[in-house]
């Protein structure tokens, strides 16, 4: 029926000759904003957080002397070691050398054994990231499934069951779940090994059997948060006018769900994922202790107990980078999929 266009007199169709290039410009501008804005938030947060980290480390009375010599540290020894480690230099000199080294990936040397902190943390990252990564996947998949089911059957018995279940697991902290899992699955039923880590190079099965319980323990909070938020987001999206508009146009329920509702309803959940990531890192500290994984978390608590300041600072910096980096990715993704949610609608 394009005869229509000819019948209806079209007053001023000034179809700009540059229509093509202005479209391209618009697209470019959009991409720039989508990436630049999150990065613009990341930088100040990173700077501020690392400064606080250094500041806190600098104002403690701790010294490598206490770490290495313990109670035998005399004031003379403390002064000597402080000088050796360059700790008697002015604050901003130290801050600058620490920060510039940081930007190159050098996190200083551990007070306990002089080994590079970056190296120590790096070795342990694969383990921690395996657990956190698997936890994230479980959290997203299981959480999404539960959230979608609950939203689609809103106010039904299934919805109530899911909501109660989710409420229940949301209050279970990772370390409680971890201990319970060990007690039941490992010691009680002997289904899974209770401790240790096996790299994936040794086979997928063994790796999974060792990493599953820690990942599961870490993931439950995320499952609950995602399920809750997704349910609320989807139910909210269904009440919006654009769903009515889509129904009026004669679009089917499947299409409305996958193309319209999910996109907008999932926005807040995606944002939540970014906010929840720190919890995964935090939970790792305890789960690694329970499951005897020599990861980043165990290193954190050990260094803290020893009073090894550079190590603790390094851990904080790595946490900050991980969290902010992850949030950055999530924000970029959000801008791409659901720009409305990213704008805060």
């Amino acid at each position: 029926m394009s005869a229509e266009a000819e019948i209806l007199p079209i007053p001023h169709v000034a179809r700009a000759a540059s229509a093509g290039s202005s479209v391209a410009l618009l697209r470019l501008r959009r991409v720039a904003i989508a990436v630049a804005r999150p990065v613009g938030v990341f930088v100040p947060v990173f700077l501020f957080a690392t400064f606080i980290t250094f500041l806190l480390g600098a104002v403690t009375g701790l010294s490598p002397a206490y770490v290495q010599l313990g109670d035998a540290a005399t004031p003379a020894a403390v002064a000597r070691l402080n000088h050796q480690w360059g700790l008697d230099q002015p604050f901003f000199v130290r801050y600058w050398s620490w920060f510039s080294a940081l930007l190159h990936g050098d996190l200083g040397k551990s007070w306990s054994n002089g080994v590079s902190v970056s190296e120590l943390i790096g070795q342990r990252m694969t383990i921690s990231l395996s657990a956190a990564g698997l936890a994230l996947i479980i959290g997203i998949v299981l959480g999404a499934l539960l959230g979608i089911l609950a939203a689609l059957t809103a106010s039904s018995l299934l919805d109530r069951l899911i909501t109660s279940f989710v409420s229940f697991i949301s209050v279970l902290p990772p370390f409680v779940v971890g201990i319970a899992l060990v007690a039941v699955l490992a010691v009680g039923l002997h289904w899974l090994p209770s401790a240790g880590y096996v790299p994936i190079s040794a086979g997928f099965g063994p790796w999974l059997s060792h990493i599953l319980m820690p990942a599961l323990a870490l993931s439950l909070e995320t499952v609950a948060a995602i399920a809750r938020q997704l349910r609320a987001g989807l139910v909210g999206a269904y009440q919006q006018n654009y769903v009515l508009g889509a129904r009026v146009r004669g679009l089917g329920p499947r299409r409305i769900f996958f193309v319209h509702v999910l996109r907008n309803g999932a926005g807040p959940s995606l944002a939540l994922l970014g906010l929840h990531f720190p919890n995964l890192l935090g939970g790792a500290v305890v789960t690694e202790t329970i499951f005897a994984l020599s990861g980043f978390g165990v290193f954190a608590s050990q260094s803290a107990l020893r009073g090894d300041v550079p190590a603790v600072q390094g851990i904080l910096v790595v946490s900050i980078v991980l969290v902010v980096g992850f949030n950055l990715l999530v924000n970029i993704l959000l801008n791409r999929i659901a720009p409305a949610a990213a704008r805060g609608i």
Binding site: S2, E4, A5, A14, Y242, V248, G250, V259
Partner: protein, 276 residues
């Protein structure tokens, strides 16, 4: 083509939330190319009637009596699947506040293309071409540029045009315009009204114009229904209702609209002239 596109007979809708009938005993019929207006204040039942016609009554509202026949079919017997097939391709609607009826995360052109693909089965390229044609047909310049803009980047007038394009894309037999011009500037209002008039003429579209604004209704419609408190207080041709209103309420409405230059439309010759 059937004699009437839509026949409503003694429609009664009950509001279970307030336990009061929202609409009682409404009857009218619309044929192809005809324009009927539904006039009333807020809460008079205009919107509920429209939603009943679309099979989209909100929760807690129920049709308790009367019938609606769309293209000869009794809509009470339709399953949800049949409704989905009918909506868009037989009956469609545009509402107030156009921005909220579009998905804020998808460019507007893609939403138009979606309707074309799903309802008329066109392949992607052909659907895109047709979508551009439709945008041009509703008087949008730079159709290609507008095509990939998001709803929040466009003005109300543009968005309403796009929604009209989306509504008529699958070539429905009847279109409902529920307060379609209310949220727009006066000049834009006039353009939309012209557009709707054009479409009914060219496409043989049946049109239901719902408004609280008598001027809009007077311009477009041949027949008017006046609703008050969910019941029809007066019904007839535009000339009958506006010249010799029988009911006191209608007289009240007309008096209130004097200020908006309704006088122009109250003389027969002026009316004929305006609608030519």
């Amino acid at each position: 083509m059937p004699e009437t596109v839509l026949t409503v007979d003694e429609l009664t809708v009950h509001n279970h939330f307030t336990d009061v009938p929202a609409v009682t005993g409404v009857s009218f019929a619309v044929g192809p190319g005809q324009v009927i207006g539904i006039v009333g204040e807020s809460g008079s039942g205009k919107t509920i009637t429209c939603r009943a016609l679309l099979g989209l009554l909100p929760e807690l509202f129920e049709i308790t009596a009367g019938s609606i026949r769309l293209l000869g079919r009794d809509t009470a017997l339709l399953t949800e699947k049949e409704w989905t097939a009918l909506r868009g391709s037989s009956i469609s609607a545009v509402f107030q506040d156009p921005a909220s009826y579009l998905n804020p995360s998808i460019p507007v052109g893609r939403q138009l293309e979606e309707v074309l693909r799903i309802k008329t089965g066109l392949p992607r390229k052909a659907a895109r071409a047709r979508a551009l044609d439709l945008l041009t047909a509703v008087h949008i310049r730079d159709a290609e540029y507008v095509y990939q803009q998001f709803p929040h980047e466009l003005s109300g007038g543009m968005l309403q045009r796009i929604l009209i394009a989306i509504a008529i894309a699958p070539e429905p037999a009847i279109l409902i315009a529920d307060e379609a011009t209310t949220a727009l500037d006066v000049t834009v209002q006039a353009e939309i009204i012209d557009l709707l008039a054009d479409l009914t003429r060219r496409l043989g579209l049946a049109l239901i114009v719902v408004s609280h604004d008598l001027a809009v209704v007077a311009q477009l419609c041949q027949r008017i229904i006046v609703l008050r408190g969910g019941t029809v207080v007066e019904q007839g041709t535009v000339e009958q209702v506006l010249f010799s209103p029988q009911h006191e309420y209608t007289r009240l409405l007309i008096d209130e609209h004097h200020r908006f230059g309704l006088d122009r439309f109250l003389t027969a010759s002026d009316r004929a002239e305006a609608r030519a």
